[in-house]
Symmetry: C2
Subunit: 250 residues, 2 copies
DNA sequence: ACAGCAATTATTGTTAACAATAATCTTCTG
DNA sequence: CAGAAGATTATTGTTAACAATAATTGCTGT
């Protein structure tokens, strides 16, 4: 028998990115690896709680363990993953409190950004935003909901970049990257789109009229709508477990 | 001649924490080292632009280089330090834009927190806040301005912890840790206290009355006052240099 | 003197081997 | 068979040696 293949030994049945061929298109940089993992988390391909083993990841991406180690450190620092000493790192499972805090933070940041943006937004930027929303609508109607959701998220990020506050933008992007984890752990992978398109439209309308206060108010409601859909849901694991355990033989 | 001392070889004249004796009270943990460096930055003992050499730090703290390496990574990630590949890491020098963005972010976050805090703050917490402010005032009058400034900063942090939003609190603490760098690079080490005590008092008053909107408004003004003192100042290095170089012999 | 160049030193970056810990499997005994 | 004790394997954590790069020094010729 031949020895095991060099790159794909020891993989679970769930591979993270792609296991069709030995993944070495060239050397993957540390940033590349980080982005690939982040994207996998955001795309729900890497569910909360998944163990991220160092050697396995190193083999998958064809990099040294040290590189993976640094990437994991960064993931932990941005709270996309949890680390327990000597036990490894797993993709994070945000609590409901954390979810609530994150939405509250988003409201504060995004409303503030909209108010400053309304005062300086250009016609060209309005046009760009409308184009994005049109494209998103197209994707929904043509059934490409994966891309539609991505565009819906990107809408918020583009707004942030237009507001031109790097500190807030970084923070917001951190939160946005963590939101899919909330959805997945507290709502399940129902695949429903989470942004209401007409609210995005209304935000752009308010911005066009220079009404930052109104834009902020709509954004606040918009985020609350998303948050409420999550808060309604019971905390699945515990309740399920309890229901199973307490089932008395009748 | 004896060989060089084991722990204090190769140190610059500016030692970072203390060079009075070989610093090995026991093993310093990674977190300890991080906190010591952060504190040194916040206390203006480690001015912006200072190079943080790995081996030197390792000797100072009596830890391995690998540990320092991880600490530096964390400092860079929280933007207290800048890293250039193959050139090492230096204490960060925030730009004026970054300073402006940071204050804007602080306004958004702290105002939002105050509004939610006002709705739920307890009499006991009010008492705790007033006690802090009294103590701060005492320190000023007794000349212990170092401690007074620390208390002034802590006031903001305690407000955040009372608001009980972990996501915002983490973010705010990051920003607060970075503010001393702004002060130092754009205003110089004038040692003036940067928070107006009477504004802190007014914030507590508004909180006690449950008037979150007013508390937030005062906080916004309060932060603007601090920010303006910085923005007034010209960007020292460039302008000074130009003034010196362009001085024509008359 | 001083610009250019080579050699040296200093500093950061990487890696493979080792150590420590946790998880899993085996065996043994009641 | 249950379950504890021990052995084995798997995984994470640390370190010292090496490599790569940048900064410094010293030299040389004009």
């Amino acid at each position: 028998m031949l020895p095991k293949a060099k790159y794909l030994t020891n993989l679970n049945e769930r591979t993270i990115i792609d296991n069709s061929d030995p993944i070495l298109p060239s050397a993957l940089s540390e940033d590349d690896v980080l982005r690939l993992i982040e994207q996998a988390v955001m795309d729900h391909r890497l569910p909360p709680g998944t163990k991220l083993k160092e050697v396995e990841l190193a083999q998958v991406f064809g990099v040294k363990r040290g590189a993976i180690r640094k990437v994991l450190t960064r993931l932990v620092h941005s709270r996309l993953a949890d680390q327990q000493p000597n036990k490894g790192v797993t993709v994070a499972k945000p609590s409901v409190k954390e979810a609530r805090d994150m939405f509250s933070a988003r409201r504060a940041i995004e409303c503030s950004m909209l108010e400053s943006l309304a005062a300086k937004i250009t016609a060209k930027q309005i046009k760009q935003l409308r184009k994005m929303l049109d494209e998103e609508q197209c994707c929904y109607q043509s059934g490409d909901s994966q891309r539609a959701i991505a565009l819906s998220i990107e809408f918020h990020q583009v707004l942030a970049s237009m507001a031109d506050n790097d500190v807030m933008t970084d923070f917001l992007n951190d939160i946005i990257r963590r939101t899919p984890l909330i959805i997945l752990t507290h709502l399940g992978d129902t695949g429903q789109n989470l942004c209401r398109n007409q609210e995005h439209d209304a935000i752009v309308d308010a911005l066009e009229n220079g009404d930052g206060e109104k834009a902020g108010r709509i954004m606040g409601q918009h985020l609350s709508h998303i948050e409420n859909r999550i808060k309604e849901e019971p905390e699945s694991p515990k309740s399920n477990l309890a229901a199973l355990l307490l089932k008395v033989p009748s």
